[in-house]
Amino acid sequence: MKILIADDSRVMRQIVTRTLRQAGFDGHDLVEAADGREAYDKTVAESPDLVISDWNMPEMTGVEVLRKLRAAGNDVTFGFVTSECTAEMQAQAEAAGAKFFIVKPFTAERFDEVFSGILG
C-alpha cells in the first residue's frame, strides 16, 4: 500500500514511520508532506491508499485537507495523528470522514490497534 504521512515536523514524520515499522507494518510505500497544502496536492497526485495526517499544520489544517479532498470526490482512507484531542475535534474529524484519531504521544500498540484493520 502507499501511505502518505503529513506533519510539519520532520521528526514526527520519522517517528510515525518508525512506529509503523515497530507495529509490524513494514514494506509499504511511504510518501511525506510537510504542510496541509502539500498533503492535499500529494494525495491528489500520488493517490495513496492511506493518509496519516497531523491536525495543526501551516497552509491548511489536517481537517481542511480532508474536507477539501472529500469535496473533490476523493475517498482515500484518512485519519489523524495529533497532540490535540478534544471531543469537538473528534466530532469534526468524524463528520469530515476520518477513519481514526490517534493522540500524541502514541505507542506501537496503539498503531497496531488502529492500523491492523486497515493495513492487514
Binding site: S9, R10, M12, N56, M57, E84, E88, T107
Partner: protein, 162 residues
Amino acid sequence: MSVQTVPNVADLAEMVEQVWTSYLDPEGVEPLIPVEKGANSSEVHSSVSITGSWQGVVVYGSSQEAAKQAAAAFLAMEPDEVSAEDLADVLGELANIVGGNVKAMLPAGCFLSLPQVVLAPESASRYPSAVQVAGLYGTWKGEPISVTMWQSRTDVKEGGVA
C-alpha cells in the same frame, strides 16, 4: 465568576510521563526525576499559545544538552549526530504534544498555535499580562527540564487594568 478546570502540576506530570514513556524513556530506565523549582536553568525553550475560552502559553524548557539528548531519543540516533534543525524540531514537538494535551483538559472552544522555538533561555521570552499557574521541574540524565503554564490575566482589559 465561573471556575474553570485548568490542568495542575499533577496533570502536567502525567502528560510529561506519557511523553517519556512513549519517546524519551520507552525502556523505563531514565525517567524524569521531579525536583523543587530552582533557579531557571533553561538554555533553550519552546512554547505554544492557547487562545479562546482559556488564554495562555505552555512552555517547555531545558538545557541544550537535554534538548540534544531528547532529539537523539526521538530520532533514534546518537546525540552527536543531532543537527540544529533536529533540535529545534524536537523542542517544538515537545511543546506541541504537552500543549495539545493541556488543551484537551480545558473548556471547549480553545485553539492551539503552531510551536515557537527559541534557542535561548526562557528568560528571553516574555508573556505579556500572563502569570504562571503551574510549573513542573525535573532532571533527566542529570539535565534540567521544565514545563510551565502561563495564564493571561483576565483582570487586564484593553485600555488598562479593570
